[in-house]
């Protein structure tokens, strides 16, 4: 009896905060929130363009543009070759991380699941570190073709590859066991961490600096090439996400019950896994390991408008992009003219939130 009581207590979610009930219909609220978040992203984007080490006034530059005047060479470079690609990359990566978080959590029916957990980030990280440390061993022809793209390309395929290994491990006869996949994700993550450790040990001083910066994540290296490389993969995943909403809602009832209400469960799982692997792999490839966006954004949104995935997925994309741009601005100004890796900012802000979620759920998880 006490066990049942504990379980019931434990399922208490921070979303409730002791209140007796939610509004009967949260759908209108969620729709209004979408508009607010879109406006917020717009404001943050424009603000982000005006932030930076160089004292360029974006407002006067924009005024010049509108008036049809020629921009100075410097203004043009700062605006179009540095800040605008950085803005676009921030939006893409933020949206990708947040939506991946929502999809993963829906798939695992666990609000603590994150692309980091299924080993996508670990696999991508290992591949990137391998490329940095052992890249010089590659045939010269291949190295020259890839150039600076070597690390992102490696990260992308690392993330994808590790997801495929996990998926194969956890799938038998067309059925994916979520428990097996989580455990296998932990094992693969540990293995990738150990191998990465060996490589870090082997690295020279220069490589170590690369590794540190890359491991913490940054948008500093944003170029149009990176934006265009990430756009198709992340774009595809973001476009696929709305079609997963009904399936992920149904999965909240459990896999069998989801099937009984007419959801093609295995197909939803396949698409979810591919979307998460693609979006996270691409995000890690262009910006390194940026944590906690995938945990914090979905959680904040569920607190305000509930767990329905129909509004949750687009809202997560908007809020993820906004938060990452905001974190990037903090990273740029806090120790200006130097720059902090953005992963440090998201970790400092996100880790306490993660701990708070854990504490609230502790009883329910039996931790």
């Amino acid at each position: 009896m006490s066990l049942a009581a504990d379980t019931h207590q434990g399922s208490a979610d921070p979303a409730r905060g002791g209140s007796t009930g939610a509004p009967v219909d949260r759908r209108h609220q969620a729709r209004r929130l979408t508009l607010v978040l879109a406006a917020l992203l717009l404001v943050t984007s424009v603000t982000s363009l005006t932030f930076g080490a160089a004292g360029t006034s974006v407002w006067s530059a924009l005024g010049d543009l509108v008036a049809g005047r020629e921009l100075s060479q410097l203004d043009r470079i700062i605006l179009f070759d540095i800040r605008l690609p950085r803005l676009c990359l921030g939006i893409l990566v933020g949206a990708a991380l947040a939506v991946s978080g929502v999809v993963m959590q829906g798939l695992f029916r666990n609000p603590l699941a994150d692309p980091g957990i299924v080993g996508v980030s670990a696999g991508a990280g290992l591949a990137a570190i391998t490329a940095i440390v052992l890249g010089s061993l590659l045939p010269a022809a291949l190295r020259d073709t890839l150039g600076t793209g070597l690390v992102p390309v490696a990260a992308f395929f690392g993330g994808w590859g590790s997801t495929l290994i996990l998926y194969r491990t956890a799938t038998r006869g067309g059925q994916t066991s979520v428990a097996t996949m989580l455990l296998a994700g932990i094992a693969l993550g540990a293995l990738a961490g150990a191998l990465s450790g060996i490589l870090v040990y082997m690295a020279d001083d220069n490589q170590l600096r690369d590794l540190t910066f890359w491991g913490m994540g940054s948008l500093a290296g944003a170029t149009w090439t990176k934006v265009l490389a990430a756009l198709p993969v992340i774009g595809l995943a973001l476009c696929a996400a709305p079609f997963l909403a009904r399936g992920l809602n149904g999965l909240a009832l459990g896999e069998a019950a989801a099937g009984h209400i007419g959801i093609p469960v295995q197909r939803v799982k396949n698409i979810s896994i591919m979307a998460v692997a693609g979006a996270t792999g691409a995000a890690v490839a262009v910006s390194g390991g940026i944590g906690f966006i995938g945990i914090v954004v979905p959680h904040l949104l569920r607190l305000s408008t509930g767990p329905d995935h129909h509004p949750l997925l687009p809202n997560a994309a908007l809020l993820g992009a906004t938060l990452l741009l905001a974190a990037d601005m903090i990273a740029r100004v806090i120790i200006a003219p130097a720059e902090l890796p953005i992963g440090i900012v998201t970790a400092v802000l996100g880790a306490p939130v993660f701990l708070w979620i854990l504490l609230k759920r502790r009883a329910g998880l039996g931790l």
């Binding site: 019931h8 939610a22 666990n110 909240a252 009832l253 099937g259």
Partner: protein, 262 residues
């Protein structure tokens, strides 16, 4: 609904030995039997939740060949107990029954279904805050929403219930069993795994009694629920229609038609 030669193996153990099962629309069919006799396994095999050999036919169609959404349009399955990871409200859970059906979009069905299971006014409550029995009735409301009309285009729809009254108080056991009866009365089919033999005797048209992965007896309640069959299958003497000795109070759901003396 027909199941032909259903065999289920878990590892080396055979749980069901070539079971043939049939349920007719306009009837409440109860599957009963002791713990471990395979009644829930039979239900899960028939709903495709576990691997099995043999075929399952629903309205003459092989369920293995139907798409999930085609099946969902003619059959709804109430699980034994369901925990939900996210803080959905009661109304949101019940609305999940809608999206697969013909009646998507704005609909008052979820609220009517909640009224039907005696949970009117619970729409805005969080599912996780409810008691086990209330959660079970929310799930029933969801399932009802999915196949609200018992007959569509002349063919019956099916309610499959796994121990629908297991954690309910006696009043709500009546609520739920009356619902099942009305559904069958309107032409739908109801198949329920039951624990309570009294309620089974009272509400079922057809009883399938399981023992060790086989059907031990089937027929009307009067045919199946006999002293000898029950003693044999349950392994303890259970005399039917017998008043207990001494002054032990007992109450039977069947007696609800009798007015309570003032």
């Amino acid at each position: 609904m027909k199941a032909l030669d259903i065999t289920v193996k878990l590892g080396n153990r055979t749980i069901l030995h070539g079971v043939d099962f049939a349920a007719k629309p306009s009837r409440v069919t109860a599957i009963v039997g002791p713990n471990g006799s395979g009644k829930t396994t039979l239900l899960r095999a028939m709903t495709g939740e576990i691997a099995h050999s043999g075929r399952v036919l629903l309205n003459g169609q092989d369920t293995a060949k139907l798409k999930p959404w085609e099946l969902a349009a003619i059959r709804a399955v109430q699980p034994q107990s369901t925990t939900i990871a996210f803080p959905f409200t009661v109304l949101e859970i019940v609305r999940l029954g809608l999206s697969s059906g013909l009646s998507a979009g704005e609909s008052d069905l979820p609220l009517r279904a909640l009224e039907a299971v005696d949970l009117g006014g619970f729409a805005g409550r969080y599912y996780q805050d409810l008691s086990g029995g209330e959660q079970q009735r929310v799930q029933l409301a969801r399932v009802l929403t999915q196949v609200w009309e018992p007959v569509v285009d002349g063919s019956p729809r099916w309610l499959i219930l796994d121990e629908p009254v297991a954690s309910l108080d006696i009043g709500h056991q009546f609520t739920v069993m009356d619902l099942a009866r009305r559904y069958a009365g309107a032409g739908g089919g109801v198949v329920a795994v039951m624990h309570d033999l009294n309620l089974t005797a009272m509400f079922a048209d057809h009883v399938v009694l399981m023992q060790s992965g086989r059907i031990a007896a089937q027929g009307t309640p009067a045919e199946v629920l006999t002293d000898r069959t029950l003693a044999e299958v349950y392994g303890c003497p259970v005399p039917v229609n017998t008043t207990p000795p001494g002054g032990i109070p007992f109450l039977l759901p069947q007696a609800r038609a009798v007015p309570v003396p003032a």
